[in-house]
């Protein structure tokens, strides 16, 4: 991995980012509209390298590993590309076209999330800053 020392590091950062998203007024409203369970699958970098979010029924939860319910959408990519993606530095359409991101399931949630990526990236950069990983912030 280019950006990460182990597989726990990215999952911790991404979960902290989601904690911030869940309390951000604009993003939490947007996430509730997604109304899906989404699995972000980075297991190509290690068996534990994944996390999920559950945005169903007006509640927002997230956790490491795999969700207990069947995900509506699974996005599979590398932890490095996930870092680029949450930093809003990866064109998701192009990454999908070139097979860097594999998507399985209903894409409705993905389309609801995509317009919010810019704000998500701001919060992600805050997490990197606060956790002493400012060197990872992509310009």
């Amino acid at each position: 991995m280019e950006f990460w020392q182990d597989t726990k590091q990215p999952i911790d950062a991404f979960l902290k980012m989601f904690e911030k998203c869940m309390v951000d007024p604009e993003l939490s409203a947007g996430l509730k509209k997604v109304n899906q369970v989404i699995l972000f699958d980075y297991t190509q970098d290690g068996p534990d390298c994944s996390f999920w979010i559950d945005t169903r029924g007006g509640k927002l939860t997230a956790g490491a590993g795999k969700p207990s319910d069947k995900p509506d959408l699974i996005m599979s990519l590398s932890a490095d590309d996930a870092h680029r993606s949450w930093s809003n530095k990866l064109n998701p359409v192009m990454a999908i076209t070139r097979g860097k991101i594999k998507v399985k399931g209903s894409a409705t949630g993905l389309l609801k999330l995509a317009p919010k990526l810019k704000r998500v990236a701001e919060l992600y950069n805050e997490v990197l800053q606060e956790s002493g990983q400012a060197d990872k912030i992509l310009k």
């Binding site: 192009m94 076209t97 998507v103 894409a107 409705t108 389309l111 317009p115």
Partner: protein, 622 residues
């Protein structure tokens, strides 16, 4: 001949004669089919002085080589000729069910000239082709005519029909298949109306198809069809229709707002987007022949002012044209107006654009109540749009109807007072609902250089800038940054080749995104028996683009006509793309150089034409 039947129907409505003609295989190899082959037949006839609505005008319906072959998205049909809206080359493609039925009946296309003495229908039942009286249908809306024809000729017949707008020769009248799928653009409904031709019915009893290598084709079909269906874009389109990404497009600045004055209104984006339609109005999905993607919508508005019974739902273009473009976020109104426009037979893009122009003209005082028969034309006033403006246009009612039925450019020219500055078009064709200032600067280049005028489906440039195309075999493996001119002329050359192939093969742009170049080549070879490699296929695409430009040159167009209006080039008033200027002239200059186009005449040079096997055509223009 393999794949294609080689046969077309020729109809002279003035003489009342119907014949058949066999086309040379060379024509197919050089111009593929669809709008490319139609351009070749138009060029051969050489009647460039004929006005689009004159009896002698030529109207061509043409299939591609894969019609009826059970591939997702491969069974579209093209209509072509001289556009009454623009006065230059026009073509328009339609999905639905007409193309396979025509193929099964034994024909690749229909060439229609002349004017019938009385309203007529062309009825094709295998070898029996006849003209019959259409008096009972004249003056009626498309839905009831389609129903009537199904009753008379059987529910399995396929129809293409014009509505009252076509009969009244509204310059952007469309032609509808099965009252759901539109030959939307360029106004060919008006050409049918001028010919007294209400519609075409086709009914085939056989399904014979002769292809060069059935086993190889079947193997390829089994590989390609699932890939097309499972692609993310296909899943997205299936789930939420062509408006699936309207919300995301709005954030990027791709969706025009208020007659292209702006391209950003997040609230509007979230209220008009495809998932809203799915959640609130969708009753079922629908598809064109053999297409597993099923992006078409069937919708119903159960209550409220826009109560609409279940029927064909609006596509992205209609939702944006009668939504954000008019500064409205009323999704139910777009469902209603879609049905109204479909029934009258109006292209929703040009109709929406013309009304949005009128809204701005009224706001600026360039149009007053004295010009509009007392009607106030206000932004987002969907009641006036649906109940007054659309019917006035379709039926050419009063001064207002006559003014707007000619399209936005003609209306602005008549109105004067600089109102032409806020029209949005190229070559007289109103722009579709993708704003190049946000959608991508390459789109501005392909809008401007498009033979039929501003068009997002003539090339895959929109998808190329989005990152949805990857063709390393032909050199398109680089990333495009939408908001710059970098690599846009280079990719425009590829986009014109690929777009001309798609439109001549009559393949849907939504469906073929996953097709690799080698699969395209194999398909032509397995179906039509060609011995093509990628280069030979691209040469055919390039030839089609060149020929359409030669036709336009015969109509008097030059390089100067490859342009966009000030409104489309000025920075949008808000949203992300604000302040980023489009280097249109720089991109065009480089594109001409790369494509071998003369910078004055705007047509391929003599050498370029010779290189592409078009020496004969070169002799006619140089």
């Amino acid at each position: 001949m393999f794949g294609n039947t080689g046969k077309i129907i020729e109809v002279d409505l003035s003489a009342g004669t119907i014949g058949q003609k066999t086309l040379p295989e060379e024509y197919y190899k050089k111009y593929i089919g669809g709008s490319g082959l139609a351009a070749k037949l138009f060029w051969d006839r050489g009647n460039f002085d004929t006005e689009p609505l004159a009896p002698e005008a030529m109207l061509v319906f043409m299939n591609g080589p894969f019609a009826g072959l059970k591939m997702s998205g491969a069974s579209r049909n093209s209509v072509a000729g001289r556009s009454p809206l623009t006065g230059v080359w026009g073509d328009s493609s339609c999905g639905g069910y007409f193309a396979p039925e025509l193929r099964y009946a034994g024909y690749d296309g229909i060439v229609i000239t002349g004017k019938a003495k009385a309203p007529s229908l062309l009825v094709i039942e295998d070898d029996n082709v006849s003209l019959v009286d259409a008096a009972p249908y004249w003056g009626k809306g498309i839905e009831s005519v389609n129903d009537g024809l199904k009753e008379k000729y059987g529910k399995n017949c396929r129809t293409v029909v014009i509505g009252p707008a076509g009969e009244k020769q509204v310059k952007f009248a469309n032609i509808m298949n099965e009252a759901h799928h539109a030959f939307g653009r360029a106004g060919f409904g008006a050409v049918m109306g001028a010919k007294n031709l209400k519609g075409i019915v086709v009914k085939a009893t056989k399904k014979d198809m002769t292809i060069a290598d059935p086993a190889a084709y079947e193997k390829l079909r089994k590989e390609v069809n699932p890939a097309l269906k499972e692609a993310l874009a296909a899943v997205v389109l299936g789930e939420n229709g062509t408006a699936a990404n309207l919300e995301g497009g709005m954030v990027n600045g791709d969706v025009p707002v208020k007659n292209f004055a702006s391209n950003y209104n997040e609230e509007m984006g979230s209220k008009l987007t495809g998932s809203e339609l799915t959640d609130n109005y969708l009753t079922k999905r629908s598809a064109c022949a053999f297409c597993a993607i099923a992006c078409k919508r069937v919708a119903e508005v159960k209550e409220g002012p826009w109560k609409t019974p279940e029927g064909p739902g609006p596509e992205y273009e209609t939702i944006a044209a009668f939504g954000s473009l008019m500064n409205s976020a009323d999704l139910a109104a777009t469902i209603k107006v879609n049905r109204v426009c479909n029934d009258y037979g109006l292209d929703t893009i040009s109709c929406g654009m013309t009304i949005a122009w009128a809204m701005e003209a009224f706001e600026k005082g360039h149009l007053t109540k004295a010009d509009t028969d007392g009607v106030e034309i206000r932004w987002a006033d969907m009641e006036t749009v649906i109940n007054t403006l659309v019917p006035a246009i379709a039926l050419r009612k009063g001064n207002l109807g006559e003014l707007l039925a000619e399209g936005s450019v003609s209306a602005a020219n008549k109105t004067g007072k600089d109102s032409i500055d806020y029209t949005c078009h190229s070559k007289g064709m109103e722009a579709p609902m993708h704003d190049p200032r946000g959608g991508g600067h390459g789109l501005a280049l392909t809008y401007a250089t498009s033979p039929r005028g501003a068009c997002h489906v003539a090339t895959p440039m929109l998808f190329m800038e989005m990152g949805a195309c990857y063709w390393p075999e032909i050199g398109f493996e680089y990333e495009l940054e939408p908001m710059t001119d970098e690599n846009k002329p280079e990719s425009a050359v590829i986009s014109w080749e690929m777009g001309s192939i798609e439109n001549s093969a009559c393949w849907c742009q939504f469906a073929d995104r996953e097709m690799q170049i080698s699969q395209w080549v194999d398909l032509f070879n397995f179906v039509a028996g060609y011995n093509w490699d990628a280069d030979e296929m691209l040469r055919a695409g390039r030839r089609v683009f060149y020929l359409k430009r030669l036709i336009n040159s015969r109509f008097g167009l030059t390089a100067k006509d490859d342009d966009l209006t000030p409104r489309m080039l000025e920075p949008a008033r808000d949203g992300e793309p604000e302040g980023i200027e489009i280097n249109l002239s720089g991109m065009i200059e480089r594109f001409y150089g790369l494509a071998g186009i003369d910078p004055e005449k705007g047509i391929p040079t003599r050498d370029t034409l010779s290189e592409y096997g078009m020496a004969e055509e070169a002799a006619a223009v140089w």
